[in-house]
């Protein structure tokens, strides 16, 4: 969602975003309910095949899954400790597969297509929900991830330069102040681009 769209012409790229979102929801729900390692093994083969069909380079696909491995590094030992290795393996497989499928969606779908799909989905509720506004909020949430990542990185560098590595205050205060200022600037830019209601 944060700019990892990988252009291509596979059928996964061409499929309507709304259809892909629906299939994604069904597959993730199925994986969440599947308790047998055999079923999860079959799901793994399916996911790998889908990545191959979409012609996503291995390195790019791997980068999408790596962040969840950090979570698993903490979660798996706890699961092994309390529920045994089999439950830990099933939990890890479910998480990795769900993240991989979500990543496959974002790699094959431009954010604008997702916003259009959201708006189409919300159209029947337009009396109560402003679909444009929901779409804009989603776009901004996506945009804020790299923006805040960069901001935190700069503040961490500045904190290190001042020799205050351990100080929570030296991290929290500049991040909060700059986040609020960034939000204000972003709002101003939206008004300037005509999103002023």
């Amino acid at each position: 969602m944060i700019g990892v769209f990988h252009p291509g012409s596979s059928f996964l790229h061409r499929a309507p975003a709304l259809l892909k979102l629906g299939v994604l929801a069904v597959l993730v729900a199925t994986i969440a309910l599947a308790g047998s390692p055999w079923w999860l093994g079959a799901a793994s083969v399916l996911v790998i095949a889908l990545f191959a069909v979409a012609r996503v380079p291995f390195a790019l696909a791997w980068r999408q899954v790596v962040p969840i491995l950090w979570v698993l590094a903490f979660a798996v030992p706890l699961q092994v400790l309390f529920n045994g290795w089999e439950a830990a393996a099933v939990m890890a497989a479910r998480l990795v597969l769900a993240v991989a499928l979500a990543a496959l969606y974002t790699l094959t779908t431009p954010v604008t297509a997702t916003l259009d799909a959201m708006q189409a989905l919300l159209r029947p509720f337009r009396r109560w929900i402003d679909a444009d506004r929901v779409g804009l909020a989603l776009a901004l949430a996506i945009r804020c991830v790299p923006l805040l990542t960069e901001l935190v990185r700069e503040v961490l560098d500045a904190r290190k330069a001042r020799g205050a590595e351990g100080s929570v205050l030296a991290l929290a205060v500049p991040v909060i102040v700059r986040s609020l200022r960034t939000a204000e600037h972003l709002g101003e830019a939206l008004v300037a681009r005509g999103f002023d209601d």
Binding site: G3, V4, V111, T112, A139, E150, T182, V191, A192, R193
Partner: protein, 226 residues
Amino acid sequence: MSEIGFEGVSHDFGAERVVDDVSLVLRERRIGIVGANGSGKSTLARMINGLVTPSTGRVLVDGLDVRRQGREVRRRVGFVFTNADNQIVMPTVREDVAFTLRRHRLEPADATARVDAALERAGLTDLADRPAHRLSGGQKQLLAIASVLVAEPAVVVADEPTTLLDARNARRIAEHFETLDQQLIVVSHQLDLLESFDRVVVMEAGRVVADDVPRAALDAYRALIG
């Protein structure tokens, strides 16, 4: 060219008066605004797009009152910010340019054609599917300008568009500005950028202290800052 009028305009931030009784009519094609930090030049520029509304007085763009007809004014006046990062909303270059047109309700083919044209003009066609936040500073500023130009405004206001850029990228933006058909109003500290303009307004402590052709106005500004 559009006619931009400031009629007895003042603006206060709290107890501080940042723009003080300014009256101007801007009709030239390329207009520069210079002044020291805190002189009120950015506030004055923001009033043209309605980002700031004056505490007293009126700002008119082609007869439209910015305070009361802000939306129509913003369709005519595009605004480029100092920090392009604050202006980029969508993840990829193409999507960010297209985002501007979401409220224009164009046919998809027309929107695509306009986006392609804006990208080509900015020299960003090859980067169209790249993540916008991973572009260089100069490329981000070109993207910000393309995102403004795709709406085909009559006037482009740029608030210190080259301040955060190195000399090469600043020159690239300046060269890009030279190719624009739109009326251009640039707030800048980089005086060489304004030397080829038609008119330069010098601000000091919220007031216009010089308003002339670039050579005379920039000489007055240099004398002012010593």
